[in-house]
Amino acid sequence: MWHIGRTNSPLPGFRLTLGYSVLYLSLIVLLPLAALLAKASAASWSEFWRIALDPRAVASYRLTLGAALAGALINAVFGFVVAWTLVRYSFPGRRLLDAIVDLPFAMPTAISGIALTAIYARTGWIGQWLEPLGIPVAFTPLGITIALTFIGLPFVVRTLQPPLQELEVELEQAAASLGASRWQTFCRVLLPTLLPPLLTGFALAFARALGEYGSVVFISGNMPMKTEITSLLIIVKLEQYDYTGAAVIATVMLGASFAILLGINGLQWWFNQRHRAGA
C-alpha cells in the first residue's frame, strides 16, 4: 500500500481505522473487480474484440447509448424547469414535490420497472391513449427511454438546486438596472453560471442510465438486436455459461462508465477554476 506513516494529529486510532478501511475495501470492492478484469484479459486480443464488436453486442451498445442520451436530454430540459420552479417560486405543494423528486432513488428499480410497464402497456393509463395514435411505448426503445428518464431525473434536479440557490440577487438587479430585459438577463447572466452544473447533472444521469437494469427489463421486451440493453446481454451470456463473453462486455461497459466519470470530474474541475477566476 502507500506510505503509512504517523501523521501530525495527536488523535489515536489512525492505523486501526485506515487498516480496516483498506482491508474491507480490498475484499469487497477491489478483489472482485480484479477478478472481472482477469477474466476479460484471459481472452486473447482478437478474441476480446470479436466478442466486444459482435453485431448483437454493438446493437445493444447503440440502443443503450441512444436511450440513455435521450433520457438525459429530456431530464436536462425538464429537470432544469423543475429545479428552477422548486427553488425560485413558492406555491402550495412545493415541499411535497421537492421531497418526491428523490423517489427514483428510494424506489427499488424492479418496482419502478413493473409500475412503468403497467402504465405504458396497451391497456395502461397512458398506453391506451398512445396506442391508437400509433405510438406503442412498452416493449420499444421509447419505453426504455422513459424508464431511463425516470431513473435519471433526481440527478439533474439535485445538482442544479444548490447553484440556483446561490445565485446572487445583486447580479440580476444589476443586469436589470443596466436595462437588460428578463430574457436577456436569463440568457447572458444566469444561464452561463448554471451551465456547468447542468452539464454535470446531465452527465450523472447519463452515466446512471448506461448501467441501469431493473427499471428497464420489464418495459423493454428484451428482443435481441432490437430492444436488448447491454446489461441484459451480460445476463444472457451468463445464463449460457459464457463467462468470458460476459466479462468482456462488462469490461467495455465499465470502461465507458469510468470515462464518463472522468469527464464529470474534469467538468467540476473546470467549473471550480472558472468559479475561482470569477470571484
Binding site: 502507500w2 506510505h3 489515536p12 486501526l16 485506515l18 428510494a106 446489461s231 462488462a250
Partner: protein, 298 residues
C-alpha cells in the same frame, strides 16, 4: 463525483424570488407539476391501484404465501447483515480520512465512490467470477463444500458492494466540516480513543449517520440487478422480495406481484419521509447554532 444527489440537498425556503412575470411563473409551475405527476406520482399510484384491483382480500392473501414470507425474511436478514457492516466501515473510513492527512488519501476517497459507478449487473457478475464454479475461488470452495454463489452469502456480498459508499460518503464531509477541536480537547483532558469516539464523535455525527443508514437500508432491501445475478432464483431459499416480485410478474400473477411490490413502495415512501425529516432537523439545528453564534458575538 464529490457532490452527487445522495449528499444532503441544502434546500431552504429563503431563496424564493418571484420577480418573473406571472404567466412565466404559472407556465413553469404547470410544467413542473405535470412532469413530476406523470413521471413520479403516476407510477407510485399505479402500484397500489394494481395491487388492490381485486379487493383487499386478494391483496392480503398475497402475503400469506410461504414463498412471500421466505422472501421477506431473507430481505430482512440480508439488510440486517449488510447495513451494520457498512456502518462500521463508514465510521472507520471517516475517522481515518476526516481526522488524518496521509499519502493516498484522495485515491482512497475515489475508490470508496467506485461502486456507484459500476452497473448493478456487473456488481453481481464480479462475485460470480470470483466465487462461481469457474471462478478463482470456486474450485476451493467446492472442495470444502461451501457455497457462495446461488446462496445467501453471495446475496449478502452483492448487497454489501452496491451499498458500500452510502454511510462513508455521508460521514466524511460531515466530519471534515465539524473539525476535530472537541476531540483534541478531550484528548488533552486525558480521554482514551474509545471514550472520544463514543462520547464526542458519535453524538456529533448521529444525524448524518442516520441519514446514511436510511439510504443504505433502502438500497439494501430494494437491490435487484446485482442480487438477481448471484441469487439463482431458488424459491423459498434465495429469493429476496424484489426477486419474488419479478417471478410473480413473469408468471402473470400481476395482483400478487403488485401487492408484494407495494410493500417495497411503502418502504420507499417511509425512506423519503425519514430522509426529509432528517434534512429539516439538520437545517433547523444549523440555523439555530448560526443564530446563537451571531447573538453571542456583538
Amino acid at each position: 463525483m464529490k457532490r452527487t444527489p445522495t449528499d444532503m440537498p441544502p434546500v431552504a425556503a429563503t431563496h424564493v424570488r418571484e420577480n418573473d412575470p406571472r404567466w412565466v411563473r404559472a407556465t413553469l409551475i404547470a410544467i413542473t407539476v405535470l412532469f413530476l405527476g406523470i413521471f413520479l406520482a403516476l407510477p407510485l399510484a399505479s402500484i397500489f391501484t394494481e395491487a388492490l384491483r381485486k379487493g383487499i382480500g386478494v391483496y392480503l392473501a398475497s402475503f400469506r404465501q410461504p414463498d412471500a414470507y421466505a422472501a421477506i425474511r431473507l430481505t430482512l436478514l440480508v439488510s440486517a447483515i449488510a447495513v451494520p457492516l457498512n456502518v462500521v466501515f463508514g465510521l472507520a473510513a471517516a475517522w481515518a480520512i476526516a481526522r488524518f492527512r496521509f499519502c493516498g488519501r484522495n485515491v482512497l476517497l475515489t475508490l470508496i465512490d467506485l461502486p456507484f459507478a459500476v452497473s448493478p449487473v456487473i456488481s453481481g457478475l464480479i462475485y460470480v467470477l470470483l466465487f462461481g464454479l469457474h471462478g478463482w475461488l470456486g474450485p476451493w470452495l467446492n472442495e470444502h463444500d461451501l457455497q457462495v454463489i446461488f446462496a445467501v452469502p453471495g446475496i449478502v456480498l452483492a448487497t454489501l458492494f452496491v451499498t458500500f459508499p452510502f454511510v462513508a460518503r455521508e460521514l466524511i464531509p460531515l466530519m471534515e466540516e465539524q473539525g476535530s477541536e472537541e476531540e483534541l480537547a478531550a484528548r488533552v483532558l486525558g480521554a482514551s480513543g474509545w471514550q472520544i469516539f463514543w462520547r464526542i464523535t458519535l453524538p456529533n455525527v448521529r444525524w448524518g449517520l442516520l441519514y446514511g443508514v436510511i439510504l443504505c437500508n433502502a438500497r439494501a432491501m430494494g437491490e435487484f440487478g446485482a442480487v438477481s445475478v448471484v441469487s439463482g432464483h431458488i424459491r423459498g431459499l434465495t429469493n429476496t422480495v424484489p426477486l419474488h416480485v419479478e417471478i410473480l410478474y413473469n408468471e402473470y400473477n400481476f395482483v400478487a406481484a403488485f401487492a408484494v411490490a407495494s410493500l417495497l413502495a411503502l418502504l420507499a415512501l417511509v425512506t423519503l419521509g425519514l430522509k426529509t425529516a432528517v434534512e429539516w432537523k439538520v437545517r433547523r439545528d444549523r440555523a439555530e447554532s448560526a443564530a446563537s453564534r451571531e447573538g453571542s458575538t456583538p
